[in-house]
């Protein structure tokens, strides 16, 4: 099947962006640069989603991973001391375990890639997907959707408990609430 030139260009641009950034993340000596390279990786993957006509998933990928996860990474990395010292930030531990993991993953993916009977489907015209996803989430998949939200609620409560433990205790013992400086900039 002949792929239109523009589509091929777009695909390769996003694929190379994602792969090159991922390689940079893995091999960079500076952990802050690695975190920023993750930005390119997320955008590359989002672009591939868009390329597959999954506009909603692509945009959510950018929103959740760039807007949430990456910002949290950057926060954590930037607030860590001695971050410019690779000995501290990127310690090379557990190399044998890592090698085993790598080989197993590589073997598995390689096996999958070469044994799966890939089919070439006709090009699907890009169309609205949001309403179908909404119907599916609130229709046949309502139970997994709700279970996932319960999981998130549990995580949220755990975060509140960890961050506000002292205040919670003082309320339990009936003491006056302490006026200790609170963490006001925290994002849940």
């Amino acid at each position: 099947m002949k792929v239109p030139l523009l589509s091929a260009m777009v695909f390769w641009a996003f694929a190379i962006l994602a792969m090159a950034s991922a390689v940079f993340v893995a091999f960079s000596r500076n952990i802050v640069h690695a975190a920023f390279a993750l930005l390119g990786c997320f955008f590359g993957v989002a672009g591939l989603y868009l390329f597959l006509s999954a506009d909603f998933v692509g945009i959510i990928q950018v929103m959740v991973y760039v807007g949430g996860v990456l910002i949290l990474f950057l926060f954590a990395v930037m607030l860590t001391g001695k971050i410019r010292n690779p000995e501290k930030s990127n310690p090379s531990r557990a190399i044998p375990g890592g090698l085993v993991t790598m080989l197993v993953t590589l073997g598995l993916f390689g096996y999958l890639a070469f044994t799966t009977p890939w089919q070439v489907l006709p090009t699907v015209p890009t169309g609205p997907t949001t309403s179908q996803i909404g119907d599916a989430l609130l229709g046949p998949y309502i139970l997994p959707f709700e279970v996932a939200s319960v999981l998130l609620l549990a995580a949220l409560l755990g975060g509140v408990l960890l961050a506000g433990g002292v205040r919670g205790r003082s309320r339990l013992t009936g003491n006056e609430q302490d006026e200790a400086p609170r963490d006001s900039g925290g994002n849940t």
Binding site: M9, I59, I60, V62, G67
Partner: protein, 428 residues
């Protein structure tokens, strides 16, 4: 050769292929070139528009600030100083591009581009008129939310790469602020999305009408509140006073852009002022009827041809621009009227007030949509009450501004022993 009735740049490109080259866009081998040309054209038009907006608006802002503070403001370059922005631009272009020795140089260079592309990316889905939009994405509003996250990353980058504590504080503050205020913005936009049933920006505008009582702001009390919540949160998202803690000059020198100079510094300012248009455009398209011309339906615009069509487009653009400018002017006045919040106040404003209020608005809008028939008598009464309320707010705004100007006029001679310029449009 038939008429171009397309909605966005892609359809324009297809029209060009079909009618100017008489080819089928699906099979022609050079389709990609026309698409690329269309994209480049849209980008150039938007970039030119941003530049022509962000420049003069700096002058408007500084003159307004001057008037509010009873001083003159820039009035030397050109008549009344209208060319001040060009002078500033040339000055910044000619300045030396300084990079601190200890800065993380690649990231320091990268940060302004990230901030700028995050800002500029929103123009893809912001409409300018009835058929004037770069791409009418089906997920337009979500795209708006997603692409602005790049600005956060850029500000954090700038803060960290400068290797200065002021810049780092500014960057971290701005990230905390932008990530927090994204929540009320998303909820306020959800109110609009619920009322429309679509995420596309053009569909949101088409769900409203040209007259004020057909706008979403007048739809019911909850959308009315959501409009003000969206405007407030958008001001915070755009780092405007009273929410400009990331660059609070009394504490942080200049925040994330402390170490920047020359053109890179200008990019941050450019983003800030271009943000004014984005802020105004989002509130206008969501709540104030967008480009809708009173008494003319979108179908009539699409059905017209030739110069009538062009005329409708220009008129719709003029209406949209007028509404946006009005919002921009209010935001500018708010900047020079209100004091800056503290960091903890900033966070509690967001999480304790804005977020719960937007959630109430969502519940209220759902309720109203379920139980009030669109076009019914109750709906009409509610819309009229809300329109009158909105008109009352505007009248109050004018009375208040007039009162302040008169007070200025009476008190100024006693303070400075010279006459205050009055009425306000008479500038020295």
């Amino acid at each position: 050769m038939d008429r171009w009735d397309g909605g966005d740049m892609k359809e324009l490109a297809e029209w060009v292929i079909r009618d100017l080259f008489s080819k089928n866009p699906d099979t022609w081998q050079y389709t990609w070139a026309i698409y690329l040309a269309g994209m480049a054209l849209a980008a150039v038009i938007c970039l030119g528009f941003v530049a022509v907006f962000a420049g003069p608006v700096t002058w408007v802002e500084r003159r307004t600030a001057g008037r509010i503070m009873s001083r003159i403001g820039p009035n030397r370059v050109g008549p009344q100083g209208v060319l001040q922005w060009l002078a500033d631009g040339i000055k910044n272009l000619l300045k030396e591009d300084l990079i601190p020795d200890d800065a993380d140089k690649p990231l320091f260079r990268l940060a302004p581009y990230l901030v700028f592309s995050g800002m500029f990316g929103t123009f893809v889905v912001l409409p300018f008129g009835a058929n004037l939009i770069a791409a009418d994405l089906d997920i337009g509003v979500l795209y708006l939310m997603a692409v602005t996250t790049l600005v956060v990353v850029g500000l954090l980058t700038a803060g960290w790469a400068s290797n200065s504590k002021w810049a780092l504080y500014g960057g971290i503050r701005s990230a905390a602020q932008l990530v927090s205020y994204e929540v009320p913005i998303a909820f306020a936009l959800l109110v609009v999305v619920i009322s429309t049933g679509s995420l596309s920006t053009q569909a949101i505008i088409k769900a409203q009408g040209g007259w004020p009582w057909q706008w979403f702001v007048a739809k019911n009390p909850f959308t009315f509140i959501a409009f003000f919540l969206l405007l407030t949160s958008a001001m915070a998202e755009g780092n405007r006073i009273p929410f400009d803690l990331p660059e609070a000059e009394s504490e942080l020198v200049a925040g994330y852009n402390t170490e920047y100079s020359g053109m890179r510094f200008l990019f941050f300012l450019f983003e800030e002022w271009a943000n004014l248009w984005i802020m105004g455009a989002i509130t206008t398209l969501c709540f104030l009827g967008g480009w809708q011309i009173p008494g003319v339906s979108p179908e009539k615009i699409s059905a017209s041809s030739g110069w009538t069509f062009v005329g409708w487009q220009l008129l719709s653009f003029a209406i949209f621009a007028a509404k946006v400018s009005w919002i921009v002017f209010i935001v500018i006045q708010a900047r020079w009227t209100l004091p800056r919040l503290r960091v903890d106040q900033l966070m509690s404003t967001c999480w304790k007030y804005l977020v719960p209020m937007t959630l109430v608005c969502i519940a209220g809008v759902l309720f109203m949509d379920l139980y009030i028939v669109q076009g019914g008598i109750t709906d009409k009464i509610i819309r009229w009450i809300m329109t009158l309320l909105g008109a009352a707010v505007i009248v109050l705004f004018f009375l208040r501004a007039r009162y302040n100007y008169k007070m200025d006029k009476d008190k100024y001679p006693g303070l400075r022993n010279e006459k205050m310029w009055y009425p306000p449009y008479r500038m020295p």
